[in-house]
C-alpha cells in the first residue's frame, strides 16, 4: 500500500506540484466518458490516462477503418502495442471495434487507470438508455454530428453532467463547454494581492505591532524587523497627521514613502548620537517596506466576484441538496455580515520578506492564528446551517472549510449557456457574433463556417469536400448553407468566400498536428473541471492553425 503510494508519488511528482495531492485524488476518483476514438479523441484520452484519471469509458460504434489505420491518421495506433502493427496488415483485424482496440491500447499507458468500452453509437445509447450518461463526472464528445451533440447536450444539461464538445475540422479546432454551474475554490490567480489588513488591523495584529518599538531598537533588530511592521508603524504616524485617512492616491502614497525614508534616516542619526560608529546605511527591510507601500495599503474589501456569489440564489436558499460549495459560501457570508464586520476571513499567509526567522515566524503566526480563528467561526456558521437543513455536521470537513476561507477572495462560479440557448433564434448571442464579425477575419467566422458545414451535413449526409471530385460543386452548396444560416438568424454579416473554399478543401479531415493541439487543450480543460482548480473557458473556444490564433466567445 505504502509502496504503491511512493511509486505514485514518484510517477506523478511533476504534476503534483501543479494541482497537489487533493487535485490528484479528484482526478483518480473521476469517471470520464469519451465518445469517438478518432485522432482527437485518442489524443484527449491519452492526455487524461497519463496523469492518472480514475476510470474512462469509451463509446464508439465505429469499426476501425482504413482511414484510422491508413497512411497518416492512424490515431489509435499511436499507442505502442505489437497488435497494432499486425492490424496494419490484417483486414480482418481492421474490422475490430474501434472502442475496444483503443481501450486496450490506452490502458497500457498507465496501469493505475481502468478503462471500459461500449461498442455502441451514442445515438443508439440515447435512444435506448439516455440515463447511461448520467453516471459520469464529465462527457467528452469528439467529432459528433450536430444532431447527436444537440440531443446529448440536452440530456446532460438536465442531468447536470458537464459536457465538452471537441472537434478538429481541417486546420480548425473547436471546443464548447456546457456546464450549468461549475464552482472553483482554488482558481490559482496569477497576481493575487496579499491579505495583510494593514488598513484595518485586527486586534492581535495591533497588539503585535505595538510590541515593537522601532525608535529604541538595536540596529540589528531594526534592520530585521519585517516590513509589514515597519509599514504598520509609519501608518500610525501618518494617521496622526492625516485625520486617520489612508494614503490613497499616488501623491499621498509617495508622501508616505518619504515618511518611511526619513524615519529610517532619523533612526540612524539617533543611533549615531548614542553609538560611536553607526553610519547610516540602507536597510533592506525599509527598502522593502517602501517598495510594498503601493499594494500593501489597498483597502481590504470583499471582491465583487465573491460578493456576487454571496448574493446568488444558490447561496441564499440552502437546502439539504445544496453542494458544499454553497453551504460554505453561506457560512462565510454569515461571517462577513457578523463577526467579520464586512471583511472576509483572514487568509493567513504572508509573503517572504527580509527579517530574522524569529520575528518572521512570530508575525506569520499572528496571521495564521487569526486565520484559524476566523475559519473556526465560519465552521460554527456552517454547522448551524447544516443542522437547519437536517444534515449531520460532519458532511463538510474542517479542511474543506479552511481551504475555502483561504481562497475566499478568489472564488469563481462558471455558468455556461446551454446549447439550446445558443441555437435558438430567440436567445442566440447576436450581439457577440455581429460585433466580432465587424472584422471579417475574426475567429467568429470559423464558428459560422462550422455551423454551415453542419447544415451541409444535415442536407447531404456528408461533409463538403470529402471527395476530391466534388470540391468544386460543394463550394456552391456550402455557400448556400452559409447564406441560409445567416438568413435564419437574421445575421447581417459578411463571410468571405475564402473561408468557404478553405472549409471545402479541408474535407472534414482530422490532421494529426491539429488533433494534438486540441487534444492537449481539451484534456487540460477536462482536468480543470475534474479537479475544480483553475478556471475553465466559457464557453466556446476556436483555434485557427493556419494563422496560429485562438479566441474564446460566449455563445
Amino acid at each position: 500500500m505504502t509502496d504503491n503510494k511512493t511509486s505514485k508519488e514518484q510517477k506523478y511528482d511533476r504534476q503534483l506540484r501543479l494541482w497537489g495531492d487533493h487535485g490528484q485524488e479528484a482526478l483518480e476518483n473521476a469517471h470520464v466518458c469519451l465518445i469517438n476514438a478518432t485522432a482527437t479523441g485518442t489524443e484527449i484520452l491519452k492526455n487524461l490516462v497519463l496523469p492518472g484519471i480514475g476510470v474512462f469509458t469509451l463509446v464508439d460504434g465505429h469499426k476501425v477503418s482504413g482511414e484510422d489505420v491508413g497512411n497518416n491518421c492512424v490515431s489509435i495506433t499511436i499507442f505502442s502495442k505489437p497488435k497494432v502493427t499486425y492490424m496494419l496488415n490484417d483486414v480482418v483485424l481492421i474490422l475490430q471495434n474501434r472502442a475496444q482496440a483503443a481501450t486496450e491500447l490506452l490502458q497500457e499507458l498507465n496501469s493505475d487507470v481502468s478503462g471500459n468500452f461500449v461498442e455502441e453509437s451514442p445515438d443508439k445509447l440515447l435512444d435506448n438508455s439516455p440515463e447511461f450518461f448520467h453516471r459520469f463526472s464529465l462527457v467528452i464528445g469528439v467529432q459528433l454530428p450536430e444532431s447527436t451533440y444537440l440531443r446529448l447536450g440536452s440530456v446532460l444539461w438536465e442531468a447536470g453532467v458537464p459536457f465538452l464538445i471537441c472537434r478538429t475540422y481541417g486546420l480548425i479546432g473547436y471546443m464548447r463547454l456546457i456546464v450549468k454551474e461549475h464552482t472553483v475554490v482554488e482558481s490559482h490567480p496569477d497576481n493575487a494581492l496579499e491579505d495583510l489588513r494593514l488598513d484595518q488591523p485586527f486586534t492581535e495584529l495591533k497588539h503585535h505591532v505595538e510590541s515593537h518599538d522601532l525608535d529604541n531598537m538595536e540596529k540589528k533588530d531594526h534592520s530585521h524587523t519585517p516590513w509589514i511592521i515597519v509599514v504598520a508603524k509609519y501608518l500610525e504616524k501618518w494617521y496622526s497627521e492625516h485625520n486617520s485617512q489612508l494614503p490613497k492616491n499616488y501623491k499621498e502614497k509617495e508622501a508616505f514613502r518619504q515618511l518611511i525614508r526619513e524615519g529610517n534616516v532619523i533612526h540612524h542619526i539617533q543611533r549615531i548620537l548614542t553609538n560611536e560608529n553607526g553610519t547610516p546605511e540602507d536597510e533592506e527591510n525599509f527598502e522593502e517596506a517602501i517598495k510594498n507601500v503601493n499594494t500593501a495599503l489597498n483597502p481590504t474589501k470583499v471582491p465583487s466576484a465573491t460578493e456576487d456569489i454571496f448574493n446568488a440564489e444558490q447561496c441564499e436558499n440552502i437546502t439539504s441538496q445544496s453542494p458544499s460549495f454553497w453551504l460554505i459560501a453561506h457560512g462565510v457570508r454569515d461571517f462577513v455580515r457578523n463577526e467579520g464586520n464586512g471583511k472576509l476571513p483572514v487568509r493567513g499567509t504572508i509573503p517572504d520578506m527580509i527579517a530574522d526567522s524569529d520575528k518572521f515566524i512570530k508575525l506569520q503566526n499572528v496571521y495564521r492564528d487569526k486565520a484559524m480563528k476566523d475559519a473556526a467561526v465560519v465552521s460554527k456558521h456552517v454547522e448551524a446551517l447544516l443542522q437547519s437543513v437536517g444534515k449531520p455536521p460532519e458532511s463538510t470537513s474542517e479542511q474543506e472549510i479552511k481551504l475555502f476561507c483561504k481562497n475566499a477572495a478568489f472564488l469563481r462560479v462558471v455558468r455556461c449557456r446551454s446549447l439550446a440557448e445558443e441555437y435558438s433564434v430567440d436567445t442566440f448571442n447576436k450581439d457577440e457574433i455581429t460585433s466580432c464579425m465587424y472584422s471579417t477575419d475574426s475567429e467568429m467566422v470559423l464558428y459560422l463556417m462550422l455551423r454551415s458545414v453542419d447544415r451541409f451535413y444535415q442536407q447531404h449526409s456528408r461533409y463538403p469536400g470529402v471527395y476530391n471530385y466534388q470540391v468544386e460543386e460543394d463550394i456552391n452548396k456550402l455557400k448556400l448553407c452559409v447564406n441560409s444560416l445567416l438568413q435564419e438568424y437574421s445575421l447581417n454579416v459578411n463571410v468571405k468566400d475564402d473561408y468557404i473554399h478553405e472549409f471545402c478543401r479541408y474535407g472534414a479531415a482530422e490532421p494529426h498536428m491539429v488533433a494534438a493541439f486540441l487534444g492537449g487543450s481539451a484534456a487540460q480543460e477536462a482536468i480543470k473541471i475534474i479537479t475544480h482548480q483553475f478556471v475553465p473557458f466559457n464557453n466556446t473556444f476556436l483555434y485557427n492553425a493556419m494563422s496560429q490564433t485562438s479566441a474564446t466567445f460566449q455563445l
Binding site: D13, Q15, L50, V74, L88, L171, D352, S357, L518, G520
Partner: protein, 585 residues
C-alpha cells in the same frame, strides 16, 4: 474518403516522405513530437538524447513504460514509434548533441532541425550549429502550463541568443558557507556537501567556513583564536573533504560533529558576522534524534557509502533529485543546517523542488506544443517564413560563423587573416584569460586557449563602437590549404548589447539551472575572447570604413565613462604596432 493530409498542399505532402529531419531530445516534447511527425507523414527522422528513462517521466512521456526505466530514451522512443509506424526510417543516438562528432556536416544532412530540449546550454549549441549550417531550427520549451515555439532561420529571424536570457540566480560563496539566511542557502550547501563527500569535487563547492569572507575584517589577534578552534579537526582543511571522510570510513558521528558542531563553533569565532545576525547554534550528536526524520542522516550516509563502494575505486556518485538516497541525504543535511541557523525546516517535497529546480511538467502542455512544432515545421518546409510564428528581427550578429580546426588555427591567423581581413575589425588586440599576450607571430593554437567547437568569441572594437560575435565551429573537413572558412556575412554594425531583464523565462525547460542533461558539464560555459583595437585604421582594407569609423568615434567619445576608461587604458599601452593579448576567462 477524406484526404489524409487534406489541408496540406500536395507537393508539400509528397515532400514529407523524402524530407530528413533531426529531433534533438526524446523527453516530454520529444515523445509527442516523434508521434506527430510520423502521423503527419515524415519518414526519415533522426533522434538524439543522452538521457535514460526515469519513473517521473512516465506521467507524460507516453512512448515509455515502467519496464523501460533506465534505458536510453532515444532508443526506446524509436522502438515504440516503429511499433505503430513500421515504415518510418528512424535513427536513434544515445548521445549528447554537443559531442563534436555532430558537426556542421552532420547538421547539413537535414532539411530541418527541431529542438525538444530542457537546458539552455544545449539550446545555445544547436542554435549556433544550425546557423553555421544554415538549416532552419524550430525551438520549443514548456514549463507547467506555459510553453513556446519559435522558428529560427538564418538571416530571416531572430536567433535563440539574440535576446539575452536571464541568468540563473546564484548565491555568493560566503552566504552558502558562512551566513545562510534562507532555506535555499542550506539546500545548496547540502548539495555541495553531497558532491564533496560522494561526487565530483569542485573547488567552487566548498562547504567549510569561508575565512576569506569580506565581511570579516581580518585581525591577526582573532586569527589565533580561530586557529585554536580549528585545532580540533586538525589538518582536515588541507586535505579534501572526500579524502578525510573516507579516512574516517564515513563515520557518521565524526562527519556530523565536523559539519554541524565544529564548523559552526568555528563560524561563531568570526564574531563580526553575528553582530547583525542571529548566531548559529551548534548541534550535538546526542540531540540529533530529537529532530524527527531528518535526524536519520546516518542511514543515508551509510547507503550512499555502500553505493560508492559498489561502484569501485575512484568512482563518483552523481546527485539526482529522483534518486531516493541522494535526495534523502540532501533533505536531511539541509534541514540540520536550517536547524543550526534557526530556520523553519522544510519537507522533503519542498526541498526536492528547490534542490532539483523542479519545473512542473504535464502531458497536456507538451501535446499542445508538439502539435504546434509540426505546424511550424510544415510552414518552414514550405518556406512560408512570413507565416511562421517567429520574431523577425535583423539584429542577429550570431549569423557569423568561422569554421576551422582549433588545433591548427593560430591566434595570429585568426586575428589578422580572419578578423581584420574578413570582418570590419580594425586593429585587433586580443584578451585571453586576463593575461596580456602578443598577437603578432603568436602561434599558439586556438585550442590552447580552451576554444573549441561551438565556442562563441566576442570581438569589441571600441574605435568603431562595433561588436562582433563569432561562433567558432571546429571542423576537420575543410578543403586542402584552407585554414578557415567564414559562414554568413558580418553585419555592418552590430547591435548594442542589451542587459538581461529580470523575469521568468518560460521557455527553458526544467533543467536550465540544474546540471544540463543533454550536454557535458565542461561545455556549459563559453570561452570568450575579446578582441579590441586601439589603433587608428591604417591598412588599406579599412579605407572604406574610415568615414563611418570617424563618425562612430565621435559617438564613442560621448559614450559612458566605462567605455572611456577602457579607451584610456588602451591608449596608455605602448604604441608598438604589435597588438596585445589580454585574456578573459
Amino acid at each position: 474518403m477524406a484526404q489524409l493530409v487534406g489541408p496540406l498542399r500536395k507537393e508539400l505532402a509528397d515532400s514529407l516522405s523524402s524530407c530528413r529531419v533531426l529531433v534533438v531530445g526524446a523527453g516530454g516534447i520529444g515523445c509527442e513530437l516523434l508521434k506527430n511527425l510520423v502521423l503527419t507523414g515524415f519518414k526519415n527522422i533522426e533522434v538524439i538524447d543522452l538521457d535514460t528513462i526515469d519513473v517521473s517521466n512516465l506521467n507524460r512521456q507516453f512512448l515509455f513504460q515502467k519496464k523501460h526505466v533506465g534505458k536510453s530514451k532515444a532508443q526506446v522512443a524509436k522502438e515504440s514509434v516503429l511499433r505503430f509506424c513500421p515504415s518510418a526510417n528512424i535513427t536513434a543516438y544515445h548521445d549528447s548533441i554537443m559531442n563534436p562528432d555532430y558537426n556542421v556536416e552532420f547538421f547539413r544532412n537535414f532539411q530541418l532541425v527541431m529542438n525538444a530540449l530542457d537546458n539552455r546550454a544545449a539550446r545555445n549549441h544547436v542554435n549556433r550549429m544550425c546557423l553555421a549550417a544554415d538549416i532552419p531550427l524550430i525551438e520549443s520549451g514548456t514549463a507547467g502550463y506555459l510553453g513556446q515555439v519559435t522558428v529560427i532561420k538564418k538571416g530571416q529571424t531572430e536567433c535563440y541568443e539574440c535576446q539575452p536570457k536571464p541568468t540563473q540566480k546564484t548565491f555568493p560563496g560566503c552566504t552558502i558557507r558562512n551566513t545562510p539566511s534562507e532555506p535555499i542557502h542550506c539546500i545548496v550547501w547540502a548539495k555541495y556537501l553531497f558532491n564533496q563527500l560522494f561526487g565530483e569535487e569542485d573547488a567552487d563547492q566548498e562547504v567549510s567556513p569561508d575565512t576569506a569572507d569580506p565581511e570579516v575584517a581580518w585581525n591577526p589577534a582573532d586569527a589565533a583564536a580561530r586557529a585554536t578552534a580549528s585545532n580540533k579537526d586538525g589538518d582536515i582543511k588541507r586535505v579534501s573533504t572526500k579524502e578525510w571522510a573516507r579516512s574516517t570510513g564515513y563515520d557518521p558521528v565524526k562527519l556530523f560533529n565536523k559539519l554541524f558542531k565544529d564548523d559552526i563553533m568555528y563560524l561563531l569565532t568570526m564574531d563580526k558576522l553575528w553582530k547583525k545576525r542571529k548566531a548559529p547554534l551548534p548541534l550535538d550528536w546526542t540531540e540529533i534524534h530529537q529532530l524527527g526524520v531528518f535526524g536519520y542522516i546516518e542511514n543515508y550516509v551509510e547507503t550512499l557509502r555502500s553505493q560508492l563502494i559498489e561502484k569501485g575505486e575512484g568512482a563518483e556518485l552523481v546527485w539526482d533529485k529522483d534518486d531516493p538516497p541522494a535526495m534523502d541525504f540532501v533533505t536531511a543535511a539541509a534541514n540540520l543546517r536550517m536547524n543550526v541557523f534557526s530556520m523553519n525546516m522544510k519537507s522533503r517535497f519542498d526541498v526536492k523542488s528547490m534542490a532539483g529546480n523542479i519545473i512542473p511538467a504535464i502531458a497536456t502542455t507538451n501535446a499542445v506544443i508538439a502539435g504546434l512544432i509540426v505546424l511550424e515545421a510544415l510552414k518552414t518546409l514550405n518556406s512560408d517564413f512570413d507565416q511562421c510564428r517567429t520574431v523577425n528581427l535583423q539584429c542577429c550578429s550570431f549569423h557569423v560563423g568561422v569554421i576551422g580546426l582549433v588545433q591548427i588555427l593560430t591566434l595570429a591567423v585568426f586575428a589578422f587573416d580572419c578578423l581584420r581581413n574578413v570582418f570590419p575589425v580594425i586593429g585587433p588586440s586580443v584578451q585571453v584569460s586576463m593575461k596580456t599576450t602578443s598577437v603578432s607571430n603568436n602561434n599558439k593554437f586556438l585550442s590552447d586557449f580552451g576554444i573549441r567547437n561551438g565556442s562563441r568569441l566576442q570581438a569589441d572594437d571600441f574605435l568603431q563602437d562595433y561588436t562582433l560575435l563569432v561562433n567558432l565551429i571546429h571542423s576537420e573537413e575543410l578543403e586542402k590549404d584552407v585554414e578557415f572558412e567564414v559562414v554568413g556575412d558580418a553585419p555592418d554594425k552590430a547591435p548594442v548589447s542589451s542587459v538581461p531583464e529580470e523575469g521568468k523565462n518560460i521557455a527553458n525547460g526544467n533543467k536550465d539551472s540544474a546540471q544540463p542533461s543533454t550536454s557535458s558539464k565542461a561545455a556549459e560555459d563559453d570561452d570568450v575572447l575579446i578582441v579590441d583595437s586601439d589603433e587608428e585604421p591604417s591598412s588599406s582594407t579599412m579605407e572604406t570604413s574610415l568615414e563611418s569609423s570617424n563618425r562612430k568615434r565621435k559617438h564613442h567619445d560621448a559614450d559612458t565613462d566605462d567605455a572611456a576608461s577602457k579607451r584610456k587604458r588602451l591608449d596608455q599601452q605602448p604604441a608598438d604596432d604589435d597588438e596585445d593579448i589580454i585574456a578573459l576567462d
